[in-house]
């Protein structure tokens, strides 16, 4: 495949950085700012694109794990149990793509949140919230690693290593 993504993004970045940016010397600040942010955004895509399938697969694995943990604390609705099963199937499906992983992860996010909302005042409320807070701490750290190149981390060297 001659037109691989990496080469396409590379030539676009080179044009923006080496040709367009110098030509904008003296332009309004917001124009230069938008160019630099565009370069940063395309650079993020270039760096992460080869890892995307692994990342979204890890994300789904984490949501399935959290959902199963929740199911040990409280009986989950049938629709959520089915979504968990769909997720397990997708993880083993060699033809599943990023959209499949993302779609089921999003459904599980909704189901876990709904479980938490329904737990208010129930004897298991604290246990369920505790599991959610603990498990998501790990996943949020991975999302921080995934987006660290945007430069908002005070100490990026302290983030856990990528687990995808």
């Amino acid at each position: 495949m001659i037109r691989d993504f990496d080469a396409q993004l590379q030539v676009a970045l080179t044009a923006l950085q080496d040709i367009v940016a110098p030509a904008l010397s003296g332009a309004d600040n917001h124009v230069i700012e938008q160019l630099m942010l565009s370069v940063a955004t395309v650079g993020f895509v270039k760096a992460r694109l080869p890892e995307a399938r692994r990342f979204y697969r890890m994300d789904l694995r984490s949501w399935i794990e959290l959902s199963k943990n929740a199911a040990q604390i409280v009986s989950v609705p049938d629709v959520m149990a089915k979504t968990i099963a769909d997720g397990v199937h997708v993880l083993t499906d060699p033809e599943a793509d990023i959209a499949d992983f993302e779609n089921i992860s999003r459904q599980l996010r909704d189901h876990v949140t709904a479980l938490s909302a329904a737990a208010v005042g129930q004897p298991y409320e604290a246990d369920l919230d505790s599991v959610i807070l603990e498990k998501l701490g790990v996943l949020i750290a991975q999302n921080r690693q995934w987006t660290a190149s945007f430069g908002f981390e005070l100490q990026p060297e302290n983030l856990p290593l990528a687990a995808w």
């Binding site: 309004d28 600040n29 917001h30 700012e33 938008q34 630099m36 942010l37 565009s38 940063a40 955004t41 609705p77 629709v79 992860s105 999003r106 996010r109 909704d110 876990v112 949140t113 709904a114 479980l115 938490s116 909302a117 329904a118 208010v120 919230d129 959610i132 807070l133 998501l136 701490g137 949020i140 750290a141 999302n143 921080r144 995934w146 987006t147 945007f150 430069g151 908002f152 981390e153 005070l154």
Partner: protein, 410 residues
């Protein structure tokens, strides 16, 4: 699917909300009438599938001229119009205006048109912004507000006109920084600006709200009640419901905590709502703050909201010792509180500090992971690439929210 009061709204419903979905969210999270109006307008625009439509400089000049002429009842002349950069949320045009005051004084002013895009990091009311700038006039350095077009009758979107304020938002050696996030002013400038940063906050919070005329579009909270804070939490939750790309169960847990633990007001202050580095201008040579900007998030409420916002990690950086975290590039948290108590005569209450530390972290997570993400994806702004970039703050903000919350509840 319904579980308790939580209702799952899918992505399609968020992208093109029906009247029923809009009404359902409004009913579930009641907030101040003017905030309700602004957020409902946002959803109606989304329902109609309206993306941001760029206006030319000439269109803005014509609309601004018509607005001012209508308000004054006579023609005006606008010249030297140009785009003004800065900020992540509003479209701004700088221009000169030759006009005659109602008292007959002829004058030429350098002014700024500040207009909303179709969607924004912070959906807000130009009318409230206009009113609060009037309220602090003569007390806090802020650009004089002249005219407002609250419904976009003259301009493509709601807008206001205020005086151009001189000064810089960023030090000359660090002009490439975005919107004051993590702004480092350096030791010399910091030492000059920090006392003013605290002193002006103290002045703002000690304005006698009961004696202020105007601010008709703000609810007037009652000392001893927590209802105004609950309405504010609901407005944030409403944005989360309307704008998020995907759910985060932590946000549900923390919303419930914020409602259950909202403290009663012990004093009503004008709260700026976005009091941080990047939102004030300064004279670098004199080391003096010349103007406070971005009053769009202002409310009448609890001073601890501003105090904790100013020291959010998102707007902080490490000092030269590489251990001290400087809130807004100004000072460490405890130093800020001590200086504030001395300057204002008001107490800094640790319980309220803990509450509003969570409140503001919740807010930042929503503005980044929901409002910014939605606005940029829906092609709603004039600088989607900048708004999208700000989304990168979302996961550090969410981690910070979770960690801080766990520290408080444990």
């Amino acid at each position: 699917m319904t579980m308790g009061e939580y209702e799952i709204i899918n992505e399609g419903q968020r992208q093109r909300p029906s009247d029923a979905i809009i009404a359902q969210i409004r009913d579930r999270y009641p907030t101040e009438p003017e905030i309700d109006r602004v957020l409902t307008s946002k959803m109606k625009r989304r329902q109609a599938g309206k993306c941001f439509e760029a206006a030319t400089l000439n269109q803005l000049v014509e609309g601004t001229s018509n607005l001012i002429s209508d308000r004054l009842g006579r023609p005006v002349k606008i010249s030297n119009a140009k785009w003004l950069s800065g900020g992540a949320s509003k479209i701004q045009m700088k221009f000169e205006l030759d006009w005659t005051e109602p008292n007959g004084e002829e004058r030429t002013d350098v002014l700024v048109l500040r207009m909303e895009p179709a969607a924004s990091v912070t959906e807000s009311s130009r009318t409230r912004e206009f009113e609060v700038i009037h309220a602090v006039n003569g007390i806090i350095p802020a650009p004089r507000a002249f005219w407002v077009d609250p419904d976009g009758s003259f301009l493509p979107y709601p807008a206001m006109v205020y005086a151009f304020a001189s000064g810089s938002a960023k030090p000359s050696y660090d002009a490439g920084k975005v919107s004051g996030l993590g702004q480092n002013y350096g030791p010399k400038l910091r030492a000059q600006l920090a006392p003013q940063f605290v002193g002006l906050l103290a002045k703002l919070h000690t304005i006698d709200v009961a004696r202020i005329d105007g601010m008709e579009h703000f609810d007037r909270p009652t000392v001893g009640s927590n209802q105004s804070i609950i309405r504010q939490v609901n407005s944030m939750r409403r944005i989360w419901e309307e704008d998020r790309i995907e759910e985060e169960p932590i946000m549900e847990i923390i919303y419930r905590w914020l409602i259950a633990n909202a403290p009663p007001l012990d004093h009503v202050s004008i709260v700026h709502g976005d009091y941080r580095s990047g939102n004030f201008l300064f004279d670098e040579e004199q080391g003096k703050i010349t103007a406070w900007l971005d009053w769009e998030g202002a409310s009448l409420g609890d001073r601890h909201q501003d105090l904790t916002y100013a020291i959010m990690p998102s707007f902080a950086h490490l000092a030269e010792d590489e251990t001290t975290l400087l809130g807004s590039g100004m000072m460490a948290e405890n130093d800020l509180y001590v200086a504030y108590e001395k300057a204002s005569g008001l107490t800094v209450d640790p319980v309220r500090i803990a509450y509003f530390n969570i409140y503001n972290r919740y807010l930042i997570a929503i503005l980044t992971l929901a409002a910014s993400a939605r606005a940029s994806r829906s092609r709603g702004t004039h600088q989607d690439v900048l708004v999208n970039y700000v989304v990168g703050l979302g996961y550090p903000a969410l981690a910070d929210l979770r960690d801080y919350y766990l520290g408080v509840v444990k």
